[in-house]
Every structure is written in structure tokens, then in C-alpha cells.
């Protein structure tokens, strides 16, 4: 099914081409994405930022073919995802690793079984191979000793790490993270991002991180995509955001990373 000659330059992993997406019935129609286009480079970390409800998760679900756009093309390696049939879609998804917003761990399975699941279901590895592989990952992510616990017995940060471990088992080319640090304290947040960064550098996958965790996540971003009211802006540097002249970007920047501006005159009370 994969065409040998992708129609896009090889350094682009994902491309949105004039994509629109709305929800709701006719007179309560709510347009989440309005004719947006952007590209995500291969082997780097792209952050999709934006306020709550701006369509960040919808963007990820479009990439995975869990939702369909109303118009436009979503290209992964030049393949238009919405045009794939069910079998082709399943095949495409084997190239993705996904860490969901709420970790989406299977709560009736232990940590070990959660991480082993993709290996058991998708590969022919023996139970011994699976065991050693999972244990190695657990070790790498500092989860050793927790393999027999159930997700409900884990802390927020541990759940994220188990989710990451599970997402990385099948050696994905593209890893999607949906708000991976929601509900974590700032110290844990920084640790998780450092972990993501080192895993990404080590494995070389294309990382797409959805976050409203700003500016923290910008430290590890090679590119930033800002979603706002159905529109999209692309930046390659935090400074571009800070020095942007567009009023809504300034507003977003001041709202989310006021501390970066270090303006003493802007006190809380006045």
C-alpha cells in the first residue's frame, strides 16, 4: 500500500493541506479547524500549542485517522490518511506510537501486561523475549519494581512513563503525545520533558507533542505550531512568538508565559 515514491520531500513526516473540521449539527456548527496548513519535519520535535478546546487533540486524531476532516488532506509520508481503507489505516498506525491525554492505560492489566500488549498482539516474539524487552524498558524509564502494579496504583508521572514505554515498544517512526504533563507538578513536568527529549534523541523518531504547558515545553521544541480559533501559526523559535506583532499571539504569549516578559510594571493589582 505504501507508494515507493512519496509525493513530498523526504524530510517532511506529516503535512496538513487546507484542512477544515467542524463538529455539531447544522445550526450549532462549531468549526474547530479552519482551512489550516502546516508541515511537521521528520526526526525532530514539534510542539502543537494552544488554549484548551482549540483543536489540538482533534489535530492528533486526524493524523491517526481516528477522525476525518471535512475537507483538505492529511498526509503522512505523502499518503493521504482520510482516503485509506480500514486495513491500510491499521497498517499505517503500526508506524505510530501514541501517548494519550489520560495515558489510556488498560486498567484491568498490570504495568507489565500493558507494556507487553503491543508485543504480544503485534509481533511473534516469544514470551521470554517479551519479558526481557519489557524489563529493559522498565529499567530505562525507572519503573523497575512496579511491573505488577495496576494503573490505578500508580502516580501521575509513573502513568505517563508507562504510557511512553508502551508507545515505544513497536519502535515507532512517529510518536504523538497528547498533553503528556497534565496533572503533574512542575518538577515532574520538567523531568518528563527531559525524558522525552533524551528518548527522542536516542531513538530519532519524529515527536509531536501537544501541550498547553508553556513555556516549559518550548525548551525541547524544534518547531512550534500555535492553534488559535481555527487558525494556525508556525514558529521555529520561542523568540518569534515573543516578538510577534499579531495581537492574538501577543495576548497568548502574555497570558501563558508572562514571566518571560519580566515586566515589573505589570503587577497583579492595579
Amino acid at each position: 500500500m505504501t507508494p515507493s515514491t512519496p509525493e513530498k520531500a523526504p524530510d517532511i513526516a506529516i503535512e496538513f493541506d487546507r484542512v477544515s473540521k467542524s463538529f455539531g449539527q447544522r445550526n450549532k456548527k462549531h468549526r474547530v479547524l479552519n482551512d489550516i496548513s502546516f508541515t511537521i519535519p521528520r526526526g525532530l520535535t514539534t510542539v502543537i500549542a494552544g488554549g484548551s478546546g482549540q483543536g489540538k487533540s482533534v489535530t492528533l486524531k486526524l493524523i491517526l485517522g481516528l477522525l476525518y476532516p471535512d475537507s483538505g488532506r492529511v498526509l503522512v509520508d505523502g499518503i493521504n490518511v482520510p482516503s485509506l481503507n480500514k486495513r491500510e489505516l491499521l497498517k499505517l498506525r503500526t508506524r505510530f506510537g501514541v501517548l494519550f491525554q489520560g495515558s489510556a492505560l488498560f486498567d484491568s492489566l498490570t504495568v507489565f501486561e500493558n507494556i507487553a500488549l503491543p508485543l504480544r498482539e503485534r509481533t511473534n516474539m516469544s514470551e521470554d523475549e517479551i519479558r526481557s524487552r519489557v524489563m529493559a524498558t522498565l529499567d530505562q524509564l525507572e519503573l523497575s519494581g512496579h511491573e505488577d502494579k495496576f494503573p490505578a496504583q500508580l502516580s501521575g508521572g509513573m502513568k505517563k512513563r508507562v504510557g511512553l514505554a508502551r508507545a515505544l515498544q513497536l519502535e515507532p517512526e512517529i510518536v504523538l503525545f497528547d498533553e503528556p504533563t497534565t496533572g503533574l507538578d512542575p518538577v515532574m513536568t520538567r523531568e518528563i520533558y527531559q525524558l522525552f527529549d533524551s528518548m527522542q534523541k536516542q531513538l530519532g523518531y519524529t515527536a509531536v507533542i501537544v501541550s498547553h504547558d508553556i513555556p516549559g515545553v518550548f525548551d525541547i521544541a524544534d518547531q512550534i505550531i500555535l492553534l488559535n480559533k481555527g487558525e494556525v501559526d508556525v514558529f521555529t523559535d520561542v523568540n518569534e512568538i515573543i516578538h510577534s506583532t499579531k495581537p492574538y499571539i501577543r495576548e497568548f504569549a502574555e497570558m501563558t508565559m508572562g514571566d518571560l516578559f519580566t515586566r515589573p510594571e505589570k503587577e497583579k493589582c492595579h
Binding site: 445550526n27 456548527k29 479552519n34 488554549g51 498506525r93 501514541v98 500488549l117 498482539e121 503485534r122 513497536l170
Partner: protein, 276 residues
């Protein structure tokens, strides 16, 4: 918060509003039926997908089948005994106590066995199934399965279908036997009906046709209850008016139990009318 809402192209005339409302609802019902149809089809196809999850099937058989034995036993015993007493009371008026065995066993095999078993299993296992799948849906566990390219039907839904299709007819058989025993206890043990006439009445009146009707009913009911309960849970986010989060799961579970019970009762009538 900040959401882009597109105003409708133009206000429809007031006269058109009832039709828009009606059309909208009809469309929703058709879409919903369509989704349920696709769900049923995928679940049935999933039964034949490899690799087969034998351990999951055993787990579900244990939950739906073995787990329901106690409740089936007591329901069957008490309804059988009531049938025995009630039957005796009616038949006694005509001096036809000898027909008690026949009346009790036919009622149980053709009617009460399949229907009460299906209702009990809906209440006990169907609701749990709906809530479990609904929670997996809203916590994105089903999306996660799809993202790992694991077919959620083969992995999660189809074993439940198969387990229900196997256990409900067996539970119905248990219900029938325990119920008839209850009828015997009440009629023969308490009211003093002749044991031989109870048993021979039963033997003479119950035909293969009656048993077949009971079996067909139990299979249809099993399919109905697992389809509706699992399907409503699976589609929890697409059900209009269900709301969000934990509340949507609880609403949809209630709705599934009601829908499934009503469908069982309606199909009971239809099957009886067609097959009797």
C-alpha cells in the same frame, strides 16, 4: 471557552422549524441504527478473526455464565414454585391437577425460561459490560487499541458476544430444569399432586418443537442483549443527550439495560407469534 461558532447560513422560516426538528431526529435515529448495525457486523466478523483470544473467552464465560448461576438458580426456583402453586390453584377448579406438570414445564421452556434468563443476564452482566466498554471508550483505551493496530472487536467485543451466545442458552436450560423442579416441589410436595401424573403430563406434552422454540428464543435474546449493551457502551460518545464523562457512561448504561429488556420482550412476542 474561545470557540469559533459558525452562524447558520440564514434563519429558516418559522413554519419549517417543526419539520427541521423532525427531520433532524429521524436522521439521528437512522444514523444511530446504522452505527449499531455496523457494530453488530464488526463484532460478528471479529469472532472469526485470528488470533483467537481463548483466555478472554473463558474469562467472559466465567463472568456471564458461571457468575450468573446463583441468580438464575434462585429466580428459577421461586418462579417455578409460584407456577406450581398458581397452576394448582387454577387447574384445581376444573379438577385438572393432572395437567400441572404439563402447564409448568411448557410455560417455563417456551416462555419464562428464556425471558427471565435474558432479563437477569442483562441486569447482571449486560450492565457491567456496557459500563466497562463505555469507560474504556471515554478514557481513550479503545483509541489506544486502535492506535496499536489491535482490532478492538477481536480483542474486546467479540469474546463477549461469543460468551453470551454460549452461556445464555445454557443458563436458560438450567433455568428450565430448576424451574420445573420448583414446580414439582410446590405442586407435588406441598399441594399433594400425584408425582406420576406430574411427570407423565410433562413427558407427554413437551415436544421437540417446544424445546426448539425455547432454544431459538434464548439465542436471539443473547444476541440482542450483548449487542445492545456492548454497542451502547462502545458508542457512548455518539449518543445524543448522553453528556460527557462518567455521567455519560451511567446514563448510557441505564439506557442500554432498558432498551435491551424492552427488545427482549418485543422479540419474545414476535418469535412466539411467528414460530409457535
Amino acid at each position: 471557552m474561545a470557540e469559533t461558532t459558525i452562524p447558520p447560513e440564514e434563519e429558516p422560516p418559522a413554519l419549517a422549524l417543526p419539520f427541521i426538528f423532525l427531520g433532524d431526529h429521524v436522521l439521528y435515529i437512522l444514523t444511530d441504527l446504522g452505527r449499531m448495525g455496523i457494530f453488530l457486523f464488526s463484532a460478528l466478523v471479529g469472532i472469526f478473526r485470528r488470533p483467537f483470544r481463548f483466555r478472554e473467552l473463558l474469562k467472559q464465560l466465567n463472568f456471564i455464565g458461571a457468575g450468573s448461576l446463583a441468580v438464575i438458580f434462585f429466580t428459577a426456583l421461586s418462579s417455578g414454585m409460584v407456577l406450581g402453586l398458581q397452576g394448582y390453584y387454577s387447574l384445581h377448579k376444573f379438577g385438572a391437577e393432572g395437567m400441572l406438570g404439563s402447564a409448568v414445564s411448557l410455560t417455563l421452556i417456551m416462555e419464562l425460561g428464556p425471558i427471565l434468563t435474558a432479563l437477569m443476564v442483562t441486569g447482571r452482566a449486560g450492565s457491567a459490560m456496557c459500563a466497562e466498554i463505555g469507560i474504556m471508550r471515554i478514557s481513550e483505551q479503545i483509541d489506544a487499541l486502535e492506535c496499536m493496530a489491535i482490532d478492538p472487536f477481536r480483542y474486546l467485543i467479540s469474546p463477549k458476544f461469543l460468551a453470551a451466545l454460549i452461556s445464555v442458552p445454557l443458563l436458560t436450560a438450567v433455568f428450565d430444569i430448576v424451574g420445573i423442579f420448583g414446580g414439582y416441589l410446590a405442586g407435588v410436595g406441598l399441594m399433594g399432586v400425584n408425582s406420576g401424573s406430574f411427570l407423565s403430563g410433562m413427558q407427554q406434552s413437551v415436544t421437540n418443537h417446544d424445546i426448539r422454540l425455547g432454544v431459538i428464543k434464548s439465542i436471539v435474546f443473547a444476541l440482542l442483549l450483548v449487542w445492545i449493551c456492548a454497542g451502547r457502551g462502545y458508542l457512548v460518545q455518539q449518543i445524543r443527550g448522553a453528556g460527557f464523562g462518567a455521567e455519560s457512561v451511567s446514563r448510557v448504561t441505564t439506557q442500554a439495560v432498558v432498551l435491551s429488556s424492552i427488545s427482549v420482550l418485543i422479540f419474545d412476542y414476535l418469535l412466539t407469534a411467528v414460530l409457535l
